[in-house]
């Protein structure tokens, strides 16, 4: 395959090995590029697509979900359950349950894209770990309430 000969090969080989050593010794003194994860954290891009989350509407103090069920229908793995009920004297259904089974979710974003009201968005949460499967069955209404530390006004009203 090559015709370097006995000594040519020795010379070529020794040179290539020394060049290799030169590369690694230079790298040895260059700054490290990794982060010590739980101690430091990388800045995460705002476009990161975590699991879905209900969007808080600051005007109404609630969420915009109209319980149309489009998201649940679009989901490839049936991980969303949306339930609502029509209360007396109201035109539309109001949201009573919005649960996400994150163990099945493949983060495709179909639900976010199909939502006619833009009531869903991706969360930025990537530090997700747990000991049981049940920890990944999220109640998104409860999460939204916890995030804003107040019961949802619109969850009851749905206007």
């Amino acid at each position: 395959m090559n015709n370097r000969g006995y000594f040519g090969e020795l010379w070529f080989g020794a040179k290539s090995l020394l060049i290799g050593l030169n590369v690694t010794i230079k790298e040895l003194f260059r700054p490290i590029v990794t982060v010590q994860y739980p101690r430091e954290e990388c800045e995460i891009t705002p476009n990161y697509r975590g699991h879905v989350e209900l969007v808080f509407n600051t005007e109404t103090g609630g969420c915009d979900c109209i319980v149309c069920g489009m998201c649940a229908k679009a989901c490839p793995s049936d991980c969303l359950v949306v339930k609502g009920e029509k209360k007396e004297g109201e035109k539309r259904k109001s949201l009573t349950l919005f649960s996400l089974d994150f163990t099945k979710c493949s983060l495709c974003g179909s639900c976010v894209e199909t939502c006619p009201k833009g009531a869903l968005d991706y969360s930025q949460d990537y530090n997700i770990a747990g000991f049981t499967r049940e920890e990944f069955h999220y109640d998104l209404i409860e999460r939204l309430e916890r995030r804003h530390q107040q019961p949802l006004a619109a969850a009851a009203g749905g206007n």
Partner: protein, 384 residues
Amino acid sequence: MENLAENRTAYTDLEPATDIPNENHYYLNMGPQHPSTHGVLRVLLEMDGEYVVDPQPVLGYGHRMQEKMAEHKNWMAFMPNTGRMDYAAALPYNHGYVALFERLCGIEVPARAEYIRVITSELNRIVSHHLWIGAMLLDMGAFTPILYTFDDREQVLDILEDVTGSRLTYCYFRVGGVCKDIDDKFVEKTRAFIKRQRERFDIYNKLVTGNIIFIKRTEGVGVISPDMARRYGVTGPVLRGSGIAYDVRKNEPYSVYPNFDFEIPVGRNGDSYDRYMVRLLEIEQSLRIIEQALDQLPEGSFLGKAPKKMKMPTGDCSFSVEAARGELTYYLVSGGGDIPYRLKIRVPSYSNLSVLPELCQGMLLSDLVAAMGSMDLVIPEIDR
């Protein structure tokens, strides 16, 4: 039930048995858990000392019935699955799948969307080659190159994450376009990466390409002749390493690839070293494509008009793209409605793997590991 039982017996024939043809030979079970079978490939080796007499790959440890799943779901609901076959380069898989439906239903794609698709797919190809260089060197016992290539790989993953929202199993393309537009920040970061990557080639060449041990381990090892490659339907860098300049991007151009000026690197001898060189040169060609695409990037919409509830016309349709490992073909038979009747996925690694038994006969075990590494096998893609 009878049939099932028969299949069982056929399968257990592959188990290490007592009826070894030659009494000096013995079986060595490499995998499904082995450091160099990357995933769950099992190779049953009939050995004579350290020489491999007959390597037989045993597949199916990562079988997830992807094709069957496609027959049970709305066509859009299968989209996330496409990113999970070849986890190392998911975007070409996305691309092939959406392009299939665009061809079937005659949907127009805005030019900007096509450019974005090409840019991200090529970035993904680079990422895949980064992973492969590291993994192959790891198979050959060098630990450091994988960390250097991962350093570069992280740069691209950050860029891709910013636009696709995920780092590995992308679900970014949509029928009629892509789901999110790229911005100036993306263009800027990509240009910075191209510059950085060109500088990094120096380290790759010094540490790996020119290294005498690497050359000795790969030159003349695992030679796939052009004839052999044709017989097995080998595609991608493995085929090009054998000297056949076949690339779907050139031979059967799709998307906006005809607009770019790029070359198809080919090897001369078809050995592991040529396959390595082809992939390394392909990174440079991908950089060239991205550069041109960024220069030509048109303004406009990134997602064309596609019907929300799409009904497929009856008939069949196929679409091929050049994935990072070779030619990927989706073949769809539609009986109308929105659920495919049958979706056949032709994955490159499967054909590439089928060369292995012939290729590795009479090799040393160490060479088998190096040759298998140079094939760039992704097991979930083979098993689907």
